[in-house]
């Protein structure tokens, strides 16, 4: 799909603006052009999507899509740095677009002022090269995974809660997808109390930045060993430890990314029934 699009060249303004990263051997003019022609979709303009959108824009990703149906709330601002107090009440994608427009005029920001749903997922995701999961609940994570696997898009996935974070890349170079890792959601009866577990804002800040980094490396064509596929990083902010873990391969019998997938349309899968109550926000901490 990337090959079929007309490739835009860099303007003189852009050469100047990106000069500090252009001079790196790993990027160069060719790499900067790849960034400009890349289309990256960030699902969720919250704790993960805020920092990631900033750095993806800063790096010169040419077209950035944002999906979020929520509005900015003051209690988000401890971690959602792309928003401001005066934009409380505004849809998060619109608020983020306003900040990005002030920050880098060369980025075309496309906003989807809705949550991703089993019904709209194909239409929203199909036009993008790479998807970044910045969502905040299990149901959204299964849905994002499924549509990415169905449409064969690489999915950079991160999550954070309290003082821990996790990040990996799904569906890339023979690595597993979210369903390969978690074919079954946590049983409903393990999640009796769905109160919010809380999060220290800079923790999703770190994870969102690591997600943006992996997106950039995929766009630039870094080697398979360098991309976080078949690997997951577990971050413990309290002890400042990063654990780099070797993961399983793709499961050939996976429902959605296997050799004979049975889940081929998200609109025919009942995510509410699948996840039950445990798919509420921040569910997993109440184990």
């Amino acid at each position: 799909m990337v090959e079929q699009r007309e490739q835009k060249d860099l303007s003189n303004d852009e050469y100047m603006r990106y000069s500090r990263q252009l001079i790196m051997g790993q990027i160069g003019i060719e790499g900067q052009r790849k960034l400009k022609n890349a289309r990256v979709l960030v699902v969720g303009a919250g704790g993960l999507g805020s920092p990631a959108s900033f750095y993806l824009s800063g790096a010169g990703i040419g077209t950035l899509g944002l999906v979020d149906g929520d509005v900015v709330d003051e209690s988000n601002l401890h971690r959602q740095i792309i928003h401001t107090e005066s934009r409380v009440g505004m849809n998060k994608t619109v608020s983020a677009k306003q900040q990005i427009n002030m920050f880098n005029r060369h980025v075309d920001v496309v906003t989807y002022q809705t949550h991703l749903t089993p019904e709209n997922a194909r239409e929203i995701v199909q036009d993008w090269d790479i998807v970044m999961d910045g969502s905040d609940n299990a149901k959204a994570r299964y849905l994002i995974n499924d549509i990415c696997m169905i449409l064969k898009k690489p999915l950079v996935s991160g999550s954070a809660l309290q003082m821990e974070g996790q990040i990996t890349v799904y569906g890339y170079n023979g690595g597993p997808c979210y369903r390969c890792m978690f074919p079954k959601p946590p049983p409903a009866h393990t999640v009796t109390n769905c109160a919010d577990g809380g999060v220290l804002g800079v923790v999703p800040g770190i994870i969102g930045n690591l997600e943006a980094l992996e997106v950039i490396k995929i766009v630039l064509g870094f080697s398979d060993e360098q991309i976080l596929t078949k690997r997951m990083i577990f971050f413990d902010a309290a002890s400042m430890r990063f654990r780099n873990v070797k993961l399983r391969e793709r499961n050939p019998r996976c429902e959605v990314c296997g050799d004979e997938p049975t889940l081929t349309e998200t609109s025919t899968f009942d995510y509410d029934d699948f996840c039950q109550t445990n798919c509420n926000k921040y569910a997993l901490i109440q184990i």
Partner: protein, 95 residues
């Protein structure tokens, strides 16, 4: 047989808030299945369905042996070695 067992992603709350414990496993207990059973009987302080389901861990928990996904190591049937580091990590959904 001494092994280091680690909990994170919130699972530590079911083990008195401990992020790691040293476990001295009887010689007759040598598989991960045995370890899950041992932890359930000796260390788990909360409702057992928060940690186990049947003879395995509940869905949503990643099990690691020396930083390797147990799916690469025969899962429940993996034979534990002296001084293995076994981690149980609950996946996070927040953002």
């Amino acid at each position: 047989m001494k092994v280091l067992v680690e909990f994170s992603g919130g699972l530590e709350l079911m083990f008195e808030g401990k992020k790691h414990i040293d476990v001295d496993l009887p010689e007759t207990h040598t598989t991960l299945e045995n370890l899950v059973d041992f932890l359930k009987k000796h260390n788990l302080k909360d409702k057992e369905e928060m940690f186990v389901q049947g003879s395995s861990v509940r869905p949503g928990i990643i099990v690691l042996v020396n930083d390797t996904d147990w799916e690469l190591l025969d899962t429940l049937h993996y034979k534990i070695q002296e001084r293995d580091q076994i981690a149980f990590i609950s996946t996070l959904h927040g953002g």
